[in-house]
Symmetry: C2
Subunit: 228 residues, 2 copies
Amino acid sequence: MARTVKGPDARRERWKGHREQRRAEFVEATIAAVAKKGPDVGMDDVAAEAGVSKPVLYRHFTDKSDLYLAVGQKATELLMDRMGPALAADGPIRDRIERIVDAYLSVIEDNPNLYRFVVKGSFVDRPVEKDVVQEDKDLIATTLARILGEYMRAYEMDSGGAEPWAHALVGMVQNAGDWWLDRQTMSRANLSSYLATIIWHAIDGLLRSAGVQADPAMPLTTPLRLVD
Amino acid sequence: MARTVKGPDARRERWKGHREQRRAEFVEATIAAVAKKGPDVGMDDVAAEAGVSKPVLYRHFTDKSDLYLAVGQKATELLMDRMGPALAADGPIRDRIERIVDAYLSVIEDNPNLYRFVVKGSFVDRPVEKDVVQEDKDLIATTLARILGEYMRAYEMDSGGAEPWAHALVGMVQNAGDWWLDRQTMSRANLSSYLATIIWHAIDGLLRSAGVQADPAMPLTTPLRLVD
DNA sequence: AAGTAACCGTTACCTCAAGTAACACTTACC
DNA sequence: GGTAAGTGTTACTTGAGGTAACGGTTACTT
């Protein structure tokens, strides 16, 4: 018997953490470069910003769209870190709505350049196969649909329309957010409250038309998680 | 006095109409090429589709983004041709809402490829200075803000929030439309009615909270035009 | 101690699509 | 007949994404 069981060469494992850290580093460099030189930076710019030459970049990212995707995932992280708790939080429905909306607005307020960069997506030339923005929206919409469905069922209504509802809500908040981000003519708190009011009224109206008298302070017992 | 007043050389005027027609022709070719080869066609493809070589294309469009813009304007035209009447139409508010929503949905239903091409905007590499989609959305939102403002004033309410409202509505309908366009799980009429119900309830709720008893059948007298 | 698998990094190149130069032909106004 | 607009072509330049080929460093393996 020649050798013991072929354990994986430790040299292969040694860098596992390092590689990830390096990728994160380049993602940060991209964000910084975008902040400096606008959204149409090139790979050379990013490499320069990271203090490195292009081929190094390509050791860590297969191509431009891979880098874009990584930036998108970073942004998703920032978003979900705040949206998650807001979506999962229990409590009176009217408060939940406002908290969710405000969580979203706070993220784009704190990272306007990153937000625009990711959403515009003009960094990648060819259409990218994995649409980060769409995925995020879908994830949030799915979660919302569950909340809405549960709420409707709590009042013994048909919850069938929860899905279009959820997508409508997502688009509504996003577009209002875009508008607000460009010309900041009102405070974030004001807009959150305003949007929450609209949303609550729409829900309330649906319930009324189903013959239910809703209570904006009614708490829902089941907390919801963001992902299955 | 050597000669009469220097009339413009007729040779310069002779082509005026022709040039426009030619541009339109290339716009159509672009749309056709996109339908055939997907959204990431090149200028060569477009030229080939038009049965012509690249430099000819560049005699009519300064660059790729100019062509994209022209396609966008064509799409705007299609959109406004249906949205305009719907926005301008007089009548009970609930019906107006549904008609506006349905007008929008009918356009994207009839031209899904064109719609996606223009909205995605991956045809242009560098970010284009004039954002057709944003302009359309702003135009519609502005018009909506006027309708809402007028409606609110009719009930003697403060019409200050009409603008965020309008942008929220635009985003709502667009995103719900996108969702519907991808997985067509319900009829257009159903979705229109559904969205209109949501919107109406939201408006109604606002009015209620202002102590007004609204009537969904109340007509507004002033018809509104799309542009100033 | 020697070998090697992973990384570090560079300069110089390839490729492909956008956009241009240069050239030749056609039409109809002057 | 001259000329200002258009018709069109092939062959080129340019710029950014992406790669080849080279050499150095670290630390695990034998």
